[in-house]
């Protein structure tokens, strides 16, 4: 079954699958793999291409993966198909764009009952930017809530195509699998590159594992690559000797060489993935190409938070865990930091909120760390009166008000797609978040596309949840970074028992400062358990207190009856309470639960 054949470039098809979250991308990939016997039914897990546990749980693909399929088409010829799996979330849109750049075509999967979503449109734009041939697929047609007619008409409009080009499928039931494979062969053009030109290979992913070091995933655009060659990355200008090249079946399988048009991997003693960044071009050191492939961008983190171990003794463990994660995640940024309240920790930067959540979860789960994560923040640009410009993401490092000439904050362009009836609630939400209305467009299917510009700061905490709850889960969003704009921002400090808790300081739009401060001290009053004495909680701007609550002293906390001698039950109850206490951070005399540090912005 696993035969290796050399096929000329006209028999190669490189494609991706793009879809809004949960529209069935991974299930479709499974069907294609099974149908082409790339993997037997027995071997398949729920979603074959998603290797990481977290991906399976969150139902999303984080790292892009690739696999080679052989397909005997109806025309009697055998084809080599390279499927490149892409991350399905807005945080990873750069990685998606590089994966797409490695392809000539894309399967666009749209859920038959949910229809077009924000990511669907974002994906179409990305695919079109990369000149990909799009094969639209309406998936989940077996569902009772499916409405394929409507989805077909929107797709026809969006892509300017005829109905015949749209494939109806149910990946779950295996309906449409052959039609899709045939469409890949017939409609997606073979790769164009020239095997005789100097080597140009696009890096679309790189992974690290402790046994084999860094493995780089590439699409060979021109030339060829084989073991023993000396290669160089064209942006980072690092030099390596190729140790091994190979293909994905889906496990790594070495081969003699990779040629123009092919997708595969390279091992070459790469030190770390920061040196082989996604989007960079690999060339032959002794016969270099003139220009690198277009599209490389250095990814800058957009969302920041600080991570501290609950137990200060775990600092070294946190440090080494972050280092290990960075080996496999070039967009994760971290830098040591000290907080008066929390001790030694790290300021970390992420591509977005989901990325942040995934990193935190992996640290807690895979490295067994007990962490305090501070409220997420964005990177502010501060122009000081002395003319210096500084970038600050941590509220506690904000300069004093008198030193500041101007503060700028990052804005994003946001696209929201929602069924008509939710427009009112959504507009209200976005306006409340300082959104600037730009455009509204009807998409058919009873759907509307809204365009806004708004500060990133306003969406990093609970915007997505709010959007979902105001649209009964139907609205979807996509956003991209626009640039920095001046804003009237101010820092609010929180004092617990008259002591400043630097990790609780936050930056807020001035007009909202009082309201927010009041809500936050109220919230902290709820979260912080009562102590043996009275504890005041204050919010202050430049030492001037603007809101206050008092946590009254604990007066009575007694166990009731030990019923029938069931002492175990009582002891376990006490143990559970004690466990909760261990997860608290002692600040001065007061114990503050971890949720206080994150929960602070989750207020209305």
């Amino acid at each position: 079954m696993l035969k290796e054949v050399t096929l000329t470039t006209d028999r190669i098809r490189n494609f991706s699958i793009i879809a809004h979250i949960d529209h069935g991308k991974s299930t479709l990939a499974d069907r294609l793999l099974e149908y082409t016997h790339t993997i037997s039914e027995r071997e398949r897990k729920e979603q074959i291409l998603d290797f990481m546990d977290l991906e399976r749980e969150k139902g999303i693909t984080i790292k892009s993966k690739a696999v080679r399929l052989y397909y005997q088409a109806r025309d009697g010829k055998e084809y080599l198909l390279n499927l490149i799996d892409t991350p399905g979330h807005v945080d990873f849109s750069y990685e998606v764009s590089r994966s797409l750049a490695a392809c000539e075509g894309a399967l666009l999967v749209v859920d038959a009952s949910q229809g077009i979503q924000a990511q669907t449109i974002a994906n179409i734009h990305l695919a079109q930017k990369n000149d990909l041939r799009i094969i639209p697929i309406v998936n989940k047609i077996d569902l009772s809530t499916a409405n394929p007619r409507q989805v077909i008409s929107s797709l026809r409009e969006l892509l300017a195509i005829s109905e015949e080009e749209i494939i109806l499928a149910s990946a779950k039931e295996g309906i449409g699998t052959v039609d899709i494979l045939e469409a890949i062969v017939k409609k997606i053009p073979p790769p164009k590159g020239n095997p005789d030109n100097p080597l140009r290979a696009l890096i679309f992913d790189s992974v690290y594992n402790s046994y084999q070091g860094t493995i780089v995933y590439v699409r060979i655009v021109d030339g060829n690559i084989k073991p023993g060659m000396i290669i160089q990355t064209m942006v980072n200008l690092k030099k390596y000797e190729v140790a091994e090249v190979g293909i994905f079946r889906p496990q790594l399988q070495p081969c003699q060489q990779l040629s123009a048009g092919e997708v595969g991997y390279i091992k070459a003693g790469f030190k770390n993935i920061q040196d082989t960044q996604v989007g960079d071009t690999i060339t032959d050191f002794y016969n270099p190409a003139n220009t690198s492939l277009p599209g490389y961008k250095k990814m800058n983190p957009l969302v920041f938070c600080s991570l501290y171990p609950v137990d200060n003794n775990d600092y070294e463990d946190l440090k080494s865990a972050l280092d290990k994660l960075k080996l496999n995640d070039s967009s994760l940024y971290s830098e040591p930091e000290t907080s008066q309240a929390l001790g030694f920790g790290f300021r970390c930067g992420f591509l977005g909120l989901l990325h942040m959540e995934i990193v935190q979860e992996r640290l807690e789960r895979e490295y067994n760390l007990n962490l305090i994560a501070t409220t997420p923040s964005v990177m502010y640009r501060i122009i000081k009166k002395d003319g210096n410009i500084i970038q600050v993401s941590n509220p506690s490092s904000f300069p004093a008000k008198m030193e500041i000439e101007k503060i700028e904050e990052p804005y994003v362009a946001m696209e929201i797609i929602t069924p008509n009836q939710y427009i009112g609630g959504i507009m209200e939400l976005v306006q409340d978040r300082r959104g600037i209305f730009k455009n509204m467009e009807y998409l058919g299917e009873n759907k509307v596309k809204l365009n806004y510009e708004l500060p990133l700061n306003e969406i990093i905490m609970d915007f997505y949840d709010k959007l979902k709850s105001r649209s009964s889960g139907y609205a979807s969003l996509d956003y991209e970074f626009l640039g920095y704009r001046p804003s009237d921002l101010i820092r609010v400090d929180i004092l617990v028992n008259y002591e400043l808790v630097d990790a609780l300081s936050f930056i807020v739009f001035k007009e909202k400062a009082y309201y927010r401060a009041k809500k936050i001290v109220e919230k902290l009053k709820e979260i912080i358990p009562r102590q043996l004495y009275e504890v005041p909680i204050q919010a202050a701007i430049e030492r001037k207190v603007i809101a206050r609550e008092t946590i009254r002293a604990l007066k009575k906390d007694v166990l009731a009856k030990c019923y029938g001698g069931d002492i175990t039950r009582k002891r376990k109850l006490l143990e559970k309470q004690k466990e909760g206490k261990k997860r608290m951070k002692k600040l001065g005399r007061v114990e503050i639960p971890q949720e206080a540090f994150l929960g602070i912005l989750k207020i209305d």
């Binding site: 906390d557 009731a560 029938g564 001698g565 069931d566 002492i567 175990t568 002891r571 004690k578």
Partner: protein
């Protein structure tokens, strides 16, 4: 081996709104018979396991054991006497609810050897009794109490619950004053706790239960302590008050962390360093015994450290606290060396007091006992 014996009767007339005890409404007495024979079976099974068990106390709890005919209770006690060594003057307590006893029944119980009666009064105000889902009135309580006295019970406990929904200080005081007029020998005073699965819990979650503030609860408890003291009661355990020489011997076994055997559905035992628990559901309990097996669902062997911690958190419930000497003779280790950090911290916070002989909760510590216990928990 000296033991306390607990016998569980999981039956009651109707379920009270706050109750999460292992108990089920009983329609016909006949429905209880398979359970009773399983209970007897379990007693007999233990004779082989602990042939030298000497019973110090017997406690019949529930549910409401007294909804059963007095003869069944008598038979059960007979079986205990046949299968264990007993002491002629051992304390035998039965829990009773007002309205489930008449003079005849009381007489039979007394002649069966029961010498302590624990009456579930809960409140002496009719509106409160109704709100709790109790099926009796204040009048029933007083009648049952006085009949028991007439028949010759000279050791009677009343259970009272406080911090009831909407209860005011004056209303609570009324109950305690009424209690003192009756002159019981013993009083158990518990604050209402909301347990999952009860109607009260459900109402509380729905925001329909208006509970007194912690402040008020504190005031009620503080007032009761001083009021009961004036009426001759010794506050000998966090929730328990007794006239001289009328402290509960059975409960003292728990607080001293001494061995006890629990028989019946869901009953807990502490024997040979093991804590374990029977199947709670009567049907499952009966099935196991029909197969001739011990109906034990789960248990654990306590490490030395855990045994010490339990000894501390149970012992501190008692007014006399824990004596260094008793601790040392039991564990061969010094209490003040093993736990000096916790003890010093709590003494500093004025929750614990220590002298040359013992550690005890302070008056303040009494109200914050959970806080104190958590310090000792691992």
């Amino acid at each position: 081996m000296n033991l306390g014996l607990y016998l569980h009767f999981p039956f009651c007339k109707t379920k009270c709104f706050y109750c999460d005890f292992n108990s089920y409404p009983l329609k016909n007495i006949e429905d209880a018979l398979p359970y009773i024979s399983a209970l007897h079976q379990e007693i007999i099974l233990y004779t082989k396991k602990i042939p030298k068990g000497i019973l110090k106390t017997i406690y019949l709890g529930g549910g409401t054991p007294t909804i059963l005919p007095a003869e069944i209770i008598n038979d059960t006690l007979e079986i205990c006497r046949e299968n264990f060594l007993t002491n002629p003057d051992m304390e035998i307590t039965v829990e009773a609810n007002p309205g489930t006893l008449d003079k005849r029944k009381l007489k039979v119980l007394l002649s069966a050897g029961i010498n302590r009666l624990s009456i579930g009064a809960q409140s002496l105000r009719d509106p409160e009794l109704k709100k709790m889902g109790r099926i009796h009135t204040k009048k029933d309580i007083i009648n049952t109490y006085q009949e028991a006295r007439e028949i010759g019970f000279n050791n009677i406990n009343l259970d009272i619950i406080f911090a009831l929904p909407k209860q005011t200080l004056i209303e609570f005081q009324e109950t305690i004053e009424e209690v003192c007029k009756l002159k019981p020998d013993h009083l158990s005073l518990y604050n209402l706790t909301l347990e999952e699965g009860t109607l009260f819990f459900k109402w509380w979650k729905e925001g329909k239960l208006n509970l007194p503030s912690e402040e008020l609860e504190y005031t009620m408890f503080k007032w009761a302590i001083s009021f009961l003291k004036k009426h001759g009661f010794e506050h000998y355990e966090i929730s328990n008050f007794a006239l001289p020489s009328k402290q509960s011997r059975h409960n003292k076994i728990y607080w001293d962390n001494q061995p006890y055997l629990g028989i019946g559905a869901g009953a807990s035992s502490f024997l040979g360093g093991y804590r374990y628990k029977n199947y709670a559901h009567p049907q499952k309990y009966i099935q196991e015994l029909e197969k001739g097996r011990f109906p034990v669902e789960e248990g654990e062997r306590l490490s030395l450290k855990k045994r010490m911690i339990e000894t501390i958190i149970l012992g501190l419930r008692r007014k006399e606290g824990i004596s260094y000497q008793k601790f040392k003779s039991r564990f061969k280790l010094d209490l003040d060396k093993m736990f000096n950090l916790q003890i010093d911290k709590l003494v500093n916070q004025k929750l614990l007091k220590k002298d040359k002989e013992r550690i005890q909760l302070t008056f303040r510590g009494l109200f914050l006992a959970n806080y104190v216990f958590r310090e000792f928990i691992d």
